[in-house]
Symmetry: C2
């Protein structure tokens, strides 16, 4: 019988770790990057092509799927894996983040969050119990507890209240959980070390298969985020996967892996691909820029889209062609997975610090600005 959930660490390098999560639907090499499949599709990608970029697991969004096509409908159609044609692990978020950021008229009470759909204005109530039920209906391999989010700029009192409610909701999520997969708890507490510590303690008391750092990457900036991870990550158990939600840019990933994070998800590689931003070892570039109009070189000689020139991608994206979104997305997902593989290799070799230094020396986080940067867009 396959493992329900087992995490083994094969090597460490400083605070960084590399290992494997073993689950019934497959293995997840860590540190892992999870492409986001919001509406039962990693946008502009077939599942087989997502897998070919090196992804071991993808993420599905409870908020989007509960509204369209509906969790019960997906369950009747055999679950999310069969519905979308992805047979490896899927992590589902709880809807907590998106119900606050996307829905209309969200009203939080101890029971849960009442809100209006951003699609049609229909009224819904999302509670810890309903969130866990939806994730079970979807057939999630890794479910997340339902939590309440407040901005990192909120008062300490508001931060504390939201964190404490999230811990009560974590308890209710655990009690409601009867899935065959795993359940992760989510640490909250903003940028406050003591709130983060209290949150971690509460979660450890409940006991989860893995622990997420929530409430970051919401505008606080990379320096503040990494400073928070300096104390937040070690507060979470060493023998369980640590998942930094919603992060991030390639340089964010390097910084977070060095601080002991094992899992990431972010829309950046897919969303950027659709708008013409490509990630490379030299940093992001905007393929719409006129300097690429006759550039016959590929984005990267190892990329799965190396058969096409930057000039061709420039043409496709400028022309609004769907194939442009397809190829740019595939490149970016490949780049993210290549970066994760490079970090796993460096940790195993004990050379992560050297890798990070080399990476930082070459990678320019901000796209090169030309004389007329917006002329082409």
């Amino acid at each position: 019988m396959p493992d329900r959930f087992a995490f083994s660490i094969d090597a460490t390098d400083g605070k960084a770790r590399t290992g494997v999560i073993r689950m019934a639907r497959g293995e997840i090499r860590t540190p892992a990057f999870m492409p986001v499949g919001t509406a039962a599709t990693v946008k502009a990608m077939r599942p087989a092509d997502v897998r070919a970029t090196g992804a071991d697991i993808i993420l599905g969004n409870t908020y989007h799927l509960m509204l369209r096509p509906g969790a019960e409908r997906i369950a009747r159609l055999g679950g999310l894996h069969a519905f979308m044609g992805w047979d490896r692990p899927i992590l589902t978020d709880s809807g907590g983040y998106q119900v606050m950021s996307l829905s209309d008229l969200a009203k939080v009470s101890e029971e849960g969050v009442a809100f209006a759909s951003h699609l049609d204005g229909s009224r819904h109530l999302l509670t810890p119990e309903r969130s866990i039920e939806i994730q079970r209906l979807l057939g999630s391999d890794i479910a997340m507890t339902f939590d309440e989010l407040v901005p990192t700029t909120a008062s300490r009192g508001a931060q504390a209240q939201a964190m404490e409610r999230s811990m009560r909701w974590a308890r209710r999520s655990k009690d409601a959980f009867a899935g065959e997969g795993a359940l992760f708890g989510i640490q909250q507490g903003g940028l406050d070390e003591r709130l983060r510590a209290a949150s971690a303690e509460a979660l450890i008391e409940i006991d989860f298969d893995g622990y997420a750092v929530g409430g970051l990457a919401v505008g606080e900036g990379q320096a503040a985020m990494l400073a928070c991870l300096d104390f937040a990550a070690p507060q979470l158990p060493e023998d369980r996967p640590r998942y930094l939600m919603g992060v991030g840019k390639p340089d964010d990933l390097v910084g977070a892996v060095m601080r002991g994070i094992d899992m990431f998800d972010c829309v950046l590689p897919t969303r950027s691909g659709r708008t013409g931003q490509a990630f490379t070892w030299d940093g992001p570039l905007n393929i719409r820029n006129a300097r690429f109009a006759e550039d016959a070189t590929p984005l990267d000689p190892e990329s799965p889209v190396a058969g096409w020139s930057k000039a061709y991608l420039h043409h496709l994206v400028r022309s609004g062609e769907i194939l442009g979104a397809m190829l740019m997305t595939e490149h970016n997902l490949w780049f993210y997975q290549r970066l994760m593989q490079a970090m796993r290799d460096a940790i195993a070799a004990g050379s992560l610090v050297a890798f990070a230094a080399e990476f930082a020396a070459r990678y320019r986080p901000v796209p090169r600005v030309t004389a007329a940067p917006n002329r082409d867009s």
Copy 2:
């Protein structure tokens, strides 16, 4: 040394023929359907996936490519095949049709057509010589003569004048042609048998590798089009490929093949795919229709997208997901190629009439209308 251009007919069945066109870049099985790759991409498809549907040749549009990214630019980047990553034959149209239908302020003179780009209003002149030059710069395998089009509803006098000018332009196109591939002439003359005969005579006098029937599928309806083909197709040489431009719906293809047509191109399978129409042996269907919301069956068990249910495609298209356009397009291109293969097999077996009768008995050309047909769109 590979053939420049050789057409062999392997079997006939009534007026229908099946055979092979042999060219340096590969063989084209006839009757052939050519997917349209307007802007150096068959929309929402990678070249390898286009090939996997069974396509031997695709079409590129001179008008679109001359405006963006420009013929000289494509030539500097190694030609259209290298630019887009398709190494098999490409037929290019001459721009004659689209310069009249898409550009602004088109002004026709004996020299050619002066027009303003629909993209940026820039002024251009397209002549037979420039059209042929552009097609050579693109690296076309089959180039088309530059012609003048008038609606089939124009007066006979206008039809005659446009046809006669097109024949003078065909002569100029032939004189200008120095490509390594083939050159096809285009018959004009609207729905008039004598004009069509005069056009065919003029083209045969010039001598082309193949002959296209132009000026049809512009709103005259299927009955009028097939009635025209009854006389127009036999006017063209039996030993050369006959190409019906811009056609058509699956039932159009069956009718035209029975009248001796060997080649087709049409945006319908790709464009329909992007708007949610799928072609099946039972006729077209609108995947957005609510009756597919929980339909767990595939569009066709043999389709390359048979791994996904109609319910999933319904969800993707309703949600505006790029993957919906990708999978629907792939299905439709596969269906078109499957239909051509079925006709080639039937002709070889001498059973095309029986095939056409079976096809017509099952195929409903108009999508099934439900009680509230537009509710879902």
